[in-house]
């Protein structure tokens, strides 16, 4: 077990946003987190790398309570991909993929460059390595953001709605890259609204509603035989809207 979340609660001061979250992630698993907007998906993801501080509960990463870990060491082992890409605007594509390796992992420049190039190749962006990030399309930016995270050789990758800010025609290229990363055996937790993608890529689905996990099932079971009433409703809405 690479990640274990126990009784996680988060309160921003005006009511609980996460109310007793429990779930585990095994090495090599790909978990999709779904649920309506405002249900606490981002907050949960952000608690894992301590971008938010949990109000209570325990998060165990690599058999260590993350509270006892150096926060920068923890984060260097967790790749995070944001909805809005957040590429460093003051660096070109390859520098985006090198800076963390050099400054955090203390890798030599040459080594960092080689690894960055390899990861950019993996996401199909090697030809853009010297480009300014502002010149890229949304889909290209997100692919670079994935390469940036992969360059750190993380043990787990977290995606927070990686395609929600993209024009529809660019969603596919990013989802394909994520699928390829999954096929290399990377452990992943993906918050997404792309149901077909979730069904294709994930081994398990976690369904959140109003700060709690209502359902945590193997993917096929989730889609064919949901247990919870809210899940059924949610899936019905999705099926209706995609027809």
């Amino acid at each position: 077990m690479i990640l274990s979340i126990k009784n996680l609660k988060k309160d921003f001061g005006d009511g609980e946003v996460l109310k007793d979250i429990n779930f585990n992630v095994e090495k090599g698993e790909c978990i999709c987190v779904i649920g309506s907007s405002g249900s606490g998906k981002s907050t949960m993801l952000r608690c894992i790398n301590l971008l938010e501080t949990p109000t209570s509960g325990e998060i165990i990463f690599d058999n260590q309570n993350i509270k006892d870990m150096n926060v920068n060491v923890l984060r260097s082992k967790i790749g995070m991909v944001f909805q809005s890409f957040n590429l460093f605007n003051n660096m070109n594509v390859i520098k985006n993929c090198m800076v963390g390796q050099i400054k955090v992992l203390k890798r030599a420049k040459n080594e960092a460059r080689e690894i960055a190039l390899k990861e950019l190749e993996r996401v199909g962006m090697q030809d853009f390595k010297d480009k300014d990030v502002k010149s890229l399309s949304g889909g290209q930016k997100q692919r670079v953001a994935i390469a940036r995270a992969l360059s750190m050789n993380p043990e787990i990758m977290l995606f927070d709605e990686p395609t929600s800010a993209l024009d529809p025609e660019m969603v596919g290229e990013v989802l394909n890259v994520i699928k390829e990363v999954k096929d290399t055996g990377m452990t992943m937790v993906i918050v997404t609204h792309e149901m077909q993608f979730a069904r294709d890529v994930s081994t398990r689905i976690v369904f959140m509603n109003d700060g709690v996990i209502l359902e945590d099932s193997p993917t096929e079971e989730f889609f064919t035989n949901p247990k919870n009433e809210r899940t059924k409703e949610f899936l019905k809405r999705y099926i209706n809207s995609s027809n």
């Binding site: 909805q83 809005s84 953001a145």
Partner: protein, 236 residues
């Protein structure tokens, strides 16, 4: 002939005092340049103290000091500051010359303004940049140094350049402690013949040439460094 005598006197003063006036121009440029550079360097530190997230106890104590500093300096005229620094240091036994004291004053003064400029520049950088840097494991200082400041400074280029131009003009008040910059040099030249208007016309033209040239050069630099970046703001 009024005009003939006006231009005549200008010509005469320039001819007779060209060396002193040139020296004055040098002093004015020195004060503005040193003030802006030193002010910028200290402002980098002060703006860090002002904007640091998850600030510890020491940082919060320093922040109180920085805030008070900025308020006092920006709320009082540089002329008053110059007199206070110059004479209080003398009273404490530090016997400094007017120029050193002037450099000190203009640096202290510019620091306060540029601290606010940089704070604005830092706050204009999308928070997603900060979060992304922290997410790859960079510490708070590394994040500021490698990601936030390069963007904040770029966003602030126009305002920093403007501060330099303001300094060219405002260092004229340093005449009160005896610094002989453009204004004082021209005034002293004119005083010999009681020709204040002529002397100040010379000063005005010099200031105009200095500020226009500087603004032209700064615009060129700004263009090369590039215009500020607008980022899509994050909603997650």
């Amino acid at each position: 002939m009024l005009y003939a005598s006006y231009f005549g006197w200008i010509g005469r003063i320039v001819e007779e005092y060209s060396l002193q006036i040139l020296k004055g121009i040098g002093i004015t440029l020195l004060l503005s340049l040193v003030g802006t550079v030193v002010g910028f360097i200290i402002a980098c530190i002060f703006s860090y103290i002002k904007t640091k997230k998850d600030a510890g106890v020491i940082c919060r104590i320093l922040r109180v000091f920085v805030n008070a500093y900025v308020t006092v300096i920006r709320g009082t005229p540089m002329m008053v500051q110059a007199l206070i620094f110059y004479y209080s240091f003398k009273l404490m036994g530090i016997n400094w010359d007017p120029l050193t004291s002037g450099l000190f004053t203009v640096s202290i003064n510019t620091t306060a303004y540029l601290t606010e400029v940089l704070r604005g520049g830092i706050e204009s950088v999308d928070n997603g940049q900060y979060e992304a840097a922290r997410s790859v494991g960079m510490g708070s200082f590394q994040t500021m140094l490698f990601v936030i400041y390069p963007q904040a400074i770029k966003n602030s280029m126009a305002a920093i350049g403007n501060e330099f131009i303001v300094n060219i003009k405002d260092t004229s008040v340093l005449n009160v402690i005896g610094v002989i910059e453009v204004y004082n040099a021209c005034l002293m030249a004119g005083n010999k013949y009681f020709k204040v208007v002529e002397a100040m016309s010379i000063a005005a033209i010099i200031y105009l040439v200095l500020t226009l040239t500087s603004s032209y050069i700064l615009k060129a630099i700004e263009k090369r460094v590039g215009s500020p970046v607008k980022e899509i703001t994050s909603s997650n």
